[in-house]
Subunit: 115 residues, 2 copies
């Protein structure tokens, strides 16, 4: 997410025409929670998050996507959820590259990146 | 959740000292997404939801819990997430019993209810 207020990543399962997690089959659901937990653990460890917030909302963009947000007790929206709290602060190119370089190692080849 | 604005249920995995989904082991994670999807499907079908919102936040209450909210394009917070939007409207006893009776069939014996 192009919002430097928080390290905020959106996991988009590469499946067409899916809007709800329960529409994935059993194997796909297992893959989703495994990949979500890998991403979450990296956010907790490598970004020193105090809490990970995970959410599948999709009220506006229906294609299934799962928010993963590294939260800090010192961030500007804490302890509220992030939605609707602060205007997005776009990353500079340098900041964006730093975040991507911190994120990628260990995520493995099943992840593709779009930003 | 004692808030009649939306059918809103909180799934609490019966594990002590867990604050993040990634702290569950592989078998527990699989059980979580299976039970979450069963609950979500029942909300979608039996409560005629337009969208299911699922979230693991836990910024205030650390024990792992996952929100499951049946959303409607006609509900008062749509399309925003529900947090911080409306004051909770407590159920009457009749309303509460109706919701529980609508929810329970099909959820099976691995679920316990607290309200």
């Amino acid at each position: 997410m192009n919002d430097a207020n928080y390290p905020w990543f959106i996991l988009v399962p590469d499946r067409a025409n899916i809007t709800e997690i329960f529409q994935l089959d059993e194997t796909e659901q297992k893959q989703l929670i495994t990949e979500s937990s890998l991403l979450s653990r990296i956010l907790a460890d490598r970004f020193n998050a105090d809490k990970i917030n995970i959410a599948a909302l999709g009220n506006i963009v229906p294609q299934l996507h799962i928010h993963h947000i590294a939260r800090y007790t010192t961030d500007a929206a804490w302890p509220a959820p992030v939605w609707g709290k602060l205007p997005a602060r776009p990353y500079t190119d340098d900041e964006k590259n730093q975040v991507i370089n911190r994120l990628q190692p260990g995520l493995g080849e099943s992840f593709e990146y779009h930003c």
